[in-house]
Amino acid sequence: MSTFVQQLINGISLGAIYSLIALGYTMVYGVLKLINFAHGDVYMVGAFMGFYLANGLGARGAQMLGLSGDGLVARGLLGGGAMQPSLITALVVMLLAMAICAAIGVIIERLAYRPVRKYSRLTALITAIGVSLLLENGGQVVFGAEPKFFPELFTKRNINLFEGASINSADVVVLVIALVLMIALQLIVYRTKTGRAMRAVSFNLQSAKLMGINTDRIIAFTFALGSALAAAAGVLVAIRIPRIDPLMGIIVGLKAFIAAVLGGIGNIPGAVLGGLLIGITETMVVGYLSATYKDAVAFGILILILLFRPSGLLGTVAQEKV
């Protein structure tokens, strides 16, 4: 029982991260019908941005913004960027990484995807693969191919829930931040004018254009939003498991994509549901069966879901008209 609860907690924490990335896939697919292969790599870039921010700016950045947390006092300024672990630092690092990645997402869209939008979807898909390879290999050149170790942004401790099961403070932070971000996204998409425009574009791009929506700007905004969420996921993952490398986005990206398909691609609650399901299944398989086949699990789920319910759990089937 306690093992089960423990695995469930781990699974939800991992699943929340998959969900954040899956949201980016699902939103971009919603507006452009494009599988943004590069999304997983934006998540990787997010983790690295977090790494450099935490090491270089971390403490000072927080100081400059006039924030102070427990432990974040004078040493942040005097210590030449030596970082003081605190929750505020973690938050600042994450927000900055999100901002940088949002910009990167917009740049990718502007330079690579927009020029091929007039061609077929296949061309766009291949371009996405190209961008993905560029980020992975460019990342190896710029960041170095060897893994890096993410500094501890705040002191982690285990909180005992009941006999045998405990929750790490890192997992609590991951869950809370993920939840806040998802609620924020929900508000943006369903409660703002831009969000309404996004939904219109994903419903029908041509009609949205006719209604006077600046579709280019909405698409760019979608990329910014998705990339920011991916960056947040990158920093959160690095908080949980502090080992980052330029190829870390490949498998996680694929799993998050599977999560999006599982939930019904183009469907925002579906992406969250799919992410949680994939995360929980994966930790359960690792916990009860074997860790060796954990990467095969997600793909197995994908193949099953595509065979029996191609539109995903919460998706609707679009009919093709002649």
Partner: protein, 358 residues
């Protein structure tokens, strides 16, 4: 002169030329490095041309080619290590014995890869477009996971001790056979069915083409040929590692056919050669190599999406489909009047409200 006689003569000439070249290359007259790159190009040609059958001519976007290649490579390697070498020795250990053992190994590799293609193809080819891409990608990953965990074939350490056969003759015979097979398929009634599926799947179905059946057949043939390519690779270095079949390898083959042009055999051959030689030429900038590749790919897509020698047809079909999807996704009154007839492509699950569109 009857046609079969002419073909037979051409075949004999080709084989004679290959054997002649084989002697030249075995005879240490040329730089062994050059010969190595040449042979790797031959393997790449097999892989690229076979992938083009499914991606370029049938219009199904598969990105798991390395998985089938791995099945072929590992199954034939297992055969060669456990039976092939004994067989060759039992037959005197001479040329004849090896020819028989290698022919068997190639057939076995192609057979198992084709079988894997059937297993993956039957369920997933009912899906379309990007879903197929993801399923094939996932399949490729699953294969790698299994290869990493099966001890009989070395697991993550890699599989060594495979008899090394660096034969120009063998590699290019398989490559030429692949080209001939794909060329003949494309120029047959079967091939026309495939091309009709690529150009408009719905119309093809309406014309009585059993699309799923044809797609699966093309997929199995393509996988089997990829398997044969894997056989060549397994015996080329005598060592296999699951890492070399990760999806980066699938992407590499994919880039070859995209560079050459989807739906162009000559393009695939060209792409295979260029992308095998280029990394060797760029060896000095090894770490920038993939960066240059990926930039090249993006720029190519922006400037010339149909590839160097490709036609625009495979891409047009995708655009048409996208348009249809966009219209049906809209589903509302804007789309309905202009599209009076609705064909349910997934009849097992009609969309809610699908009725009133008709």
């Amino acid at each position: 002169m009857p046609r079969y006689l002419r073909n037979l003569i051409i075949a004999l000439i080709v084989i004679a030329v290959l054997i002649g070249l084989d002697f030249v290359f075995q005879g240490r007259m040329l730089n062994p490095y050059f010969v190595r790159v040449l042979m790797l190009s031959g393997i790449a040609i097999t892989l690229a041309v076979s992938l083009n059958l499914i991606n370029g001519f049938t219009g199904q976007f598969s990105i798991g080619h390395a998985g089938f290649m791995a099945v072929g490579a590992y199954s034939s390697a297992y055969f060669s290590v456990n039976y092939g070498m004994n067989l060759a020795n039992a037959l005197g250990g001479g040329k004849v014995g090896w020819v028989i053992a290698l022919t068997l190994a190639t057939l076995i590799g192609a057979f198992f890869a084709g079988l894997a293609g059937l297993v993956v193809g039957v369920p997933s080819l009912r899906l379309r477009g990007d879903y197929l891409a993801i399923v094939t990608l996932g399949f490729g990953q699953i294969i790698v996971v299994f290869l990493n965990n099966i001890d009989a074939i070395g697991g993550a350490r890699g599989y060594s001790g495979i008899p090394i056969v660096k034969s120009f003759f063998w590699i290019f015979l398989v490559a030429i056979l692949t080209i001939v097979i794909v060329y003949n398929i494309v120029n047959s009634a079967f091939g026309r069915a495939l091309i009709s599926i690529r150009d408009d799947e719905l119309a093809a179905e309406a014309m009585g083409v059993n699309t799923t059946r044809y797609k699966v057949m093309a997929f199995v043939i393509s996988s089997a040929m990829a398997g044969a390519g894997g056989v060549l690779l397994a015996h080329f270095d005598g060592y296999l590692n699951p890492k070399s079949f990760e999806f980066i390898k699938s992407f590499e083959i994919l880039i070859m056919i995209i560079l050459g042009g989807l739906g162009s055999i000559v393009g695939s051959v060209l792409g295979a050669i260029v992308l095998t030689v280029l990394p060797e030429a760029l060896r000095g900038f090894a770490e920038y190599r993939m960066v240059i590749y990926s930039l090249l790919l993006i720029i190519l897509m922006i400037v010339r999406p149909q590839g160097l020698l490709g036609s625009a047809a495979p891409l047009k079909a995708w655009r048409k489909r996208a348009k249809r999807l966009a219209e049906s996704a809209g589903g509302g009154p804007a789309a309905a009047p202009t599209n009076p007839s609705t064909v349910a492509t997934q009849p097992e699950r009609p969309a809610p409200g699908g009725e009133n569109l008709q």
